[in-house]
Symmetry: C2
Subunit: 317 residues, 2 copies
DNA sequence: GTGAAAGCGCTAACAT
DNA sequence: ATGTTAGCGCTTTCAC
């Protein structure tokens, strides 16, 4: 499929490149008959301007890199999907990369992407990086939900806010023995806030069970959870909560009757589990809006904003 | 972040562009001291070659478009994730697009992508297209699991094969009243095959309940399903099967004890539902291998291959 | 009204 | 061993 170029169009029409360009960009000062001719030829040969060349000339980049070491979870898909929609309107598209490590994969990607984009959005990275590390790349980085190296944009997620809402909801609905199953600091902090605000006053008790937070963990921690006799459990992830739901179903433990359950992430699984899972949702739309705004109106100062998560009530509590 | 260029490096070093280029590409015939100097400068200024320019010059493209109107399901993420890994080794990256329609979105994407890629992989498209429609774009299309316009690569999925395996498994395990809930022709065909091969001989009976195939449908069809008194149900999608699992749980219907359940897609949900869901998996690795092979060794003739799906046994049957 | 020409950053054939 | 130069496909200034 040989690309047809301006030059070929010029030869074909016997006109100069400049004139052909004028016609195709709908600029003034071309006599109608020449205009017609060029248009006809362009149509006939399916002329499409080479964007790579145009962008090189205009020093304009129309892609944005998306880095994540985790393509597994469904929330990631939600984020990218939402971002794609927004970028599209701005004539921009996401290029995906899933580096397995910093020193080789990450570097290779940055090299390969140089010149086609100005910005790289980093959702997850296999290893920590410093501002120093990034200095060598002629790119602006936008870190999402991640400790941010000096001098780069960072859009942080306040995971605590949604967790706090969730816990307060549990307490207000009469739950008094609340177990946190997982271990992320961000979640602990939200729970702490809820107890500070109303939990302690209401006489609620707080328990903690340290655990990894995959599906299998929620399932395997079942006995340990029961042993602590909670009337509500907050899990660090939806996957983990789903694992516990499975355990509960097998043991005929009523959810939310006997135990209320809340997860984190608002994964698709929440709407597909039985009962449907209350969870804490990421501020996807808000963050992506901000990303697009950074891309479209470049600024000198680095953005650093924090966005709250929010509690989503479903059947499990 | 101003890009540092070969030209600047040449000025800085007082050498010609050619020599600088020689050094950086590790070619022969440069005296050590000049080599050293250039290397030092490149290091110091964090020189990165502009790939957009290099690719323009070399007429080489290092991206591949991925079109899908459906970014919702987790299988899509699996596919893209797997493809990304394979492309990466080939120095190539996926650019995502989610066109909402052919006439505007699709066209805009093809225009915007012209010159940066040679191939576009089409997973799903909002409307049917013909070979004619695609003629206007200087791109090769690889259609996956989709009716393919004339003269383009097509990698088809034989959905029937996995379904057939699934149904035969059910029959061999003593199920005799098998209900198909959904309506896709591809599934029907697989079920037919299974009955032709062993079902009829074994005296199994086949029933059909027409339905859309989302989560809510699996749930809402619960009563209609029970009414037909099946001992096994095959659902067109995992989401739908999960919906029925929820219904069954609420009604205390033993799965797989009373009713065996099989879904389709091998979504993440399969491993996270209770009980875990038997399903039919897409030939992701096989298809992506083929895609990469098409990209890396261009050919005149169009590829057209069909890949079988396969049955994945879990707890639900 | 139209065209020649420079140049975006890079490569490589062709001098020297 | 090193530099000059043309050109990938495009945009745009500046002449005519």
């Amino acid at each position: 499929m040989a690309q047809i170029t301006l030059k070929k169009l010029a030869e074909l029409s016997g006109l100069s490149i400049r004139t052909v360009s004028r016609v195709l960009k709908n600029q003034a000062y071309v006599v109608p008959e020449k205009r017609e001719l060029v248009l006809k030829l362009a149509e006939q040969y399916h002329y499409l301007p080479n964007m790579a060349a145009r962008n090189l000339r205009l020093q304009k980049k129309s892609f944005v890199g998306i880095l994540s070491s985790n393509f597994q979870t469904e929330v990631f898909l939600q984020k990218v999907n939402d971002l794609e929609r927004r970028l599209f309107s701005a004539g921009c598209y996401p290029i995906l990369g899933r580096p397995d490590n910093f020193s080789t994969d990450f570097r290779k990607m940055m090299r390969d992407w140089s010149g086609v984009m100005d910005y790289v959005v980093v959702f997850e990275l296999p290893s920590p990086v410093s501002g120093e590390d990034l200095l060598e790349f002629p790119l602006d980085f936008i870190f999402v939900d991640r400790e941010t190296p000096a001098d780069h944009h960072s859009l942080l997620i306040d995971r605590g806010s949604g967790v706090c809402e969730a816990i307060k909801h549990l307490i207000r609905n009469g739950r008094r023995r609340i177990l946190h199953c997982g271990g992320h600091e961000s979640r602990k902090e939200g729970i702490q806030r809820a107890f500070d605000e109303i939990g302690t006053a209401e006489g609620a008790r707080r328990m903690f069970l340290e655990s990894p937070s995959e599906f299998r963990d929620g399932y395997s921690q079942g006995p340990a959870i029961l042993q602590r006799n909670p009337d509500a459990v907050f899990f660090d992830t939806d996957r983990m909560a789903a694992g516990f739901l499975k355990f509960a179903m097998e043991r005929n433990i009523a959810i939310p009757g006997k135990i209320a359950v809340v997860g984190f992430d608002d994964d698709l699984i929440c709407r597909m589990s039985a009962p449907s899972l209350s969870s804490v949702a990421h501020p996807i739309a808000e963050i992506n809006t901000e990303i697009v705004s950074i891309l479209t109106s470049p600024r000198k100062e680095k953005i650093c904003k924090t966005f709250p998560t929010r509690f989503i009530l479903r059947e499990s509590c």
